[in-house]
C-alpha cells in the first residue's frame, strides 16, 4: 500500500497555495498511478473554503489514480480548524468517479452533502464530526452499498450540526440495508442513551461483530437497556469507551457484559441543579 498525505500549512495558505493545485500536481506524477491511499489534510482556511474545489479536481483527474482504494478528506486537528467549522461541499461525484474505492473517511460535516449513494465496492464509510446533518443521514439510509462492512458515524450535538431525530439516526441501522455490515458505530452522540435503547434489540445485531456506541453521553439509562438485551450479550464486541456510567453500573456491565469495553469514564458536570454530559468530540 502506498499512502500520501497532502496538506497546506498556514504560510503556504497565506502565500495563496491551493489544495486543488497540489492534487493536480500529484496527478501528473508517476506515483499517482500506484497510489492506493490518499489523505487530504488541512487545505487552509477550511472554516471558509469548502472541500468542493479539491473534490472536483480529484474527480477531474480520476483516471490518474487507478489504484486508489482509500480516501480521507479533512484529516486535521483542532490545532488547525475546529471540526465543526470544517466546510465541505457535495461529495456525491466521488462515488461514480472511483468505483474501486473501498474506504472513505470524511472529517467535518458543515455543508456536507452525499446525495444519492450507489457504490458496488465500498467497504468502509466513516464520518467524523461534531454534528451530523439529517440530510447526510438520509443519504446513507437510502444508500446502495452492498459491500459495506463498516459504518462509523459520529452523530454529535445540535450545536454543531446534528439536526436530526432518533428516527433519522436509526434509519441507517435498518436490518438488511447493508447485508455485509459487521461494524456499526453510532457514536459521539448527545442522545446516546436513546440510541442504545433503540438498537439494543435490533435484529441487525445478529450479524454484527462490533457495535460501537463510544464517545457519547451514555449513562445508566442506556446501559440498563443494553443489559436487558440477549442480542447485546451475544455480540462479539461492544465498544462503550468514554461514557458516563455510575461506578455501580460499571461493575454490573463488567460482570454481565464481558464483551464490553467500558474504559475512559467521564464525570457528569453539575451546574445550577442541572446535569451536563458532553460527547467526546464537540470541542
Amino acid at each position: 500500500m502506498t499512502e500520501i498525505k497532502l496538506e497546506i500549512g498556514y504560510e503556504e495558505y497565506e502565500d495563496g497555495q491551493k489544495m486543488s493545485v497540489l492534487i493536480e500536481e500529484l496527478a501528473q506524477k508517476p506515483e499517482a498511478s500506484t497510489l492506493s491511499s490518499l489523505v487530504i489534510g488541512n487545505w487552509g482556511g477550511a472554516y471558509e473554503d469548502s472541500s468542493q474545489a479539491l473534490v472536483d479536481m480529484l474527480i477531474q483527474y480520476k483516471d490518474h489514480f487507478p489504484a486508489l482504494r482509500k480516501l480521507f478528506i479533512g484529516d486535521m486537528e483542532s490545532e488547525e480548524c475546529e471540526v465543526s467549522w470544517i466546510m465541505h461541499g457535495n461529495l456525491n461525484g466521488l462515488f461514480a468517479a472511483f468505483p474501486a474505492l473501498q474506504s472513505l473517511t470524511i472529517k467535518g460535516s458543515s455543508g456536507l452533502e452525499l446525495g444519492e449513494i450507489r457504490h458496488e465496492r465500498l467497504e468502509e464509510l466513516i464520518i467524523i464530526c461534531g454534528g451530523l446533518p439529517a440530510n447526510v443521514l438520509a443519504s446513507i439510509a437510502e444508500a446502495q452499498l452492498p459491500a459495506l462492512q463498516k459504518l462509523e458515524l459520529y452523530i454529535g450535538v445540535e450545536d454543531y450540526g446534528f439536526d436530526g431525530t432518533l428516527e433519522d439516526v436509526m434509519s441507517v441501522a435498518k436490518p438488511g440495508l447493508f447485508p455485509n455490515l459487521t461494524y456499526l458505530g453510532l457514536k459521539n452522540s448527545e442522545i446516546q442513551d436513546e440510541i442504545a435503547a433503540a438498537i439494543a434489540d435490533s435484529e441487525l445485531l445478529e450479524s454484527l461483530e462490533t457495535l460501537d456506541l463510544s464517545d457519547g453521553t451514555l449513562s445508566d439509562v442506556g446501559a440498563e437497556a443494553l443489559l436487558a438485551s440477549d442480542r447485546i450479550r451475544k455480540l462479539p464486541k461492544l465498544d462503550l469507551q468514554y461514557h458516563y456510567l455510575s461506578e455501580e453500573m460499571m461493575r454490573r456491565v463488567a460482570t454481565e457484559l464481558p464483551n464490553a469495553d467500558i474504559s475512559d469514564r467521564q464525570e457528569t458536570d453539575h451546574y445550577d441543579g442541572e446535569e451536563y454530559r458532553y460527547p467526546a468530540l464537540t470541542e
Partner: protein
C-alpha cells in the same frame, strides 16, 4: 572587571570569591534547590534576602549584611520569582499604587494607564483568594518599581555588582508585549503580532483587527501573566460569525465592578459572546498581547510544545508538554514528555534549541531563562512564545546528569558571569 572570556581558573576563583545574593522567598522550592546546588559544587551558601524584607523597607545592603554577606564583598545578585506568596503580591500591588507614582523607569510601557487603580491602603486591605487575579497591571507596576529599587541600591552598595539576570531585562521578559518586540527586532522567530497593543482597546477592536488581518485564530495573553494565567485561545469563524474561546479565565461580573476575575484549574470552552467579551475586555484593560495561533504538532490528539532552559549561552534541560487543550501549561494536567517520548524529530528539537538560544541573545545582560517554544506542525519551524526569567524551576529532569540549578551554576563556574554590556537598557 572580570570579562566573560576570562579563563576557567579565573571563573572558578570568581565564583568562590563571589557569594550569590538571592532575592527570593525564604524556604521555597527554588531557594532550597539553589542552596543545594551550590553546596553540591562546594560553593558558599547563598545570602538570602527575602522579598518580604525588602518590601518592609529594609535596604538591600542592610538585608544582605544581616543575612551574612561579609562587609566589603561584592555579591552576584540573582533575583528569583516573586510569585506564589500572597503577602508579597499584596505589597507589590501597594507599591504600584498612585501614592508611590514616580518615573517608573523600568516599567516597559510606562505611559499606559492601569484600570481601577487601588490606593496603597486599599491594596493592603486585599484578602487572599487562591485563584483570583488581584490587579495584574498594578502588580507589575509595583514589581518594576521594586526591580528599579534593587538595581539602584545594588549599585550604590557595590559599585561593580553584577546580576545573574539584569533587572531591566527581567521587566522586559516579563511583559509579553515588549518581549515580543525585543525578540522580533533581534530577528528571532515569533508568532506574527495581531496588532500593536494600543490598538487593542477592547473586544470589538480586537475582532476588527482579526478580520482586517484575516487572522482568525489567535492566542490572547495577559501581558504579564505567568503560566496559563490569563491566556485565551480565541478563534472567530469569518463565515458564520461564531466564536470560540478556550481559557482558564473566569469572571463574576455581577458581584462588583470591575468584577472578579480568576483562573480555574479546568480549561473551559466558551462560545457565548457576552462572556467572551467580558474576559477579553479584562485583558485589554490590564494589558493584552495578541499573536497568531501557531498550529502545534500533536501526540494522540494532544498538542505539544516545549520548555527549553538556556543558561550562559548553552541549551540545557528540555521538557515537552502534551496538553489536554491548546493551552499546554504544566499545571493544567498536561503530561510531561522527554524529547524522545514526544516523537518530535531531531531536526525539530534542534530548531527549537537554536531559536531558544537566539531568544536568550536578545537579553545580553541576563544569564538564564526558561523559554517556551512552539513548533509549527506543518513546517517544523520554531517560534518563541515566552521568555521566563524565572523559568528554571523544572522538576525531575536532568541534563548532563544534573538538575537545572546545578547545571546552571556549573555553567557559571565554567564561563563566568557576563560583564554588563551597557548601563542603560
Amino acid at each position: 572587571m572580570m570579562s566573560s572570556s576570562g579563563s576557567l581558573h579565573d571563573s572558578l576563583a570568581e565564583a568562590h570569591r563571589t557569594p550569590m545574593l538571592l532575592i527570593a522567598h525564604a524556604d521555597n522550592e527554588r531557594t532550597t534547590g539553589i542552596s543545594q546546588a551550590l553546596r553540591s559544587l562546594d560553593l558558599p551558601a547563598p545570602v538570602i534576602v527575602t522579598y518580604e524584607q525588602l518590601l518592609s523597607g529594609v535596604s538591600l545592603q542592610e538585608a544582605a549584611l544581616q543575612a551574612g554577606l561579609p562587609a566589603g564583598v561584592t555579591p552576584l545578585i540573582r533575583i528569583d520569582a516573586p510569585g506564589e506568596h500572597f503577602g508579597v503580591e499584596r505589597s507589590l500591588i501597594a507599591l504600584g499604587a498612585p501614592d508611590h507614582d514616580q518615573n517608573d523607569l523600568l516599567l516597559p510601557l510606562r505611559d499606559r494607564k492601569d484600570p481601577y487603580r487601588l490606593s496603597a491602603r486599599d491594596a493592603y486591605a486585599l484578602e487572599e483568594h487562591p485563584v483570583r487575579l488581584l490587579h495584574p497591571s498594578q502588580w507589575f507596576r509595583g514589581f518594576c518599581r521594586l526591580l528599579q529599587r534593587i538595581e539602584t541600591e545594588a549599585y550604590e552598595a557595590w559599585r561593580n555588582v553584577r546580576f545573574w539576570n539584569d533587572p531591566a531585562e527581567i521587566a522586559i521578559m516579563f511583559d509579553k508585549r515588549v518581549c515580543h518586540t525585543r525578540l522580533s527586532q533581534a530577528g528571532v522567530n515569533v508568532p506574527t503580532l495581531l496588532a500593536e497593543p494600543h490598538l487593542l482597546t477592547g473586544y470589538e477592536a480586537l475582532r476588527e483587527q482579526m478580520r482586517q488581518k484575516r487572522m482568525y485564530r489567535v492566542f490572547l495573553k495577559l501581558a504579564f501573566g505567568s503560566g496559563a494565567s490569563g491566556i485565551i485561545a480565541y478563534q472567530i469563524n469569518p463565515r458564520t460569525g461564531a466564536e470560540i474561546a478556550i481559557t482558564t479565565l473566569n469572571a463574576e461580573v455581577y458581584v462588583q465592578r470591575p468584577g472578579v476575575f480568576y483562573n480555574s484549574k479546568k480549561v473551559r470552552t466558551l462560545t457565548d459572546s457576552e462572556n467572551i467579551r467580558t474576559l477579553i475586555g479584562y485583558l485589554c484593560g490590564h494589558g493584552i498581547h495578541a499573536e497568531r495561533w501557531i498550529p502545534k504538532p500533536s501526540i494522540e490528539g494532544r498538542p505539544l510544545d516545549l520548555r527549553q532552559l538556556v543558561a550562559f549561552e548553552a541549551t540545557g534541560h528540555t521538557v515537552v508538554r502534551a496538553g489536554e487543550s491548546p493551552i499546554t501549561n504544566l499545571h493544567l494536567r498536561s503530561q510531561r514528555l522527554s524529547p524522545h517520548e514526544s516523537g518530535l524529530s531531531e531536526d525539530i528539537l534542534n530548531a527549537a534549541k537554536h531559536e531558544a538560544l537566539a531568544a536568550m541573545c536578545a537579553f545580553p545582560n541576563s544569564a538564564s531563562a526558561g523559554i517556551d517554544v512552539l513548533t509549527d506542525r506543518h513546517s517544523g519551524r520554531a517560534y518563541i512564545a515566552d521568555v521566563n526569567p524565572f523559568g528554571d524551576l523544572i522538576r525531575r529532569v536532568q541534563h548532563e546528569n544534573l538538575d537545572p540549578y546545578t547545571w546552571e551554576i556549573k555553567r557559571w563556574l565554567n564561563h563566568g558571569i557576563h560583564a554588563r554590556r551597557s548601563q542603560n537598557v
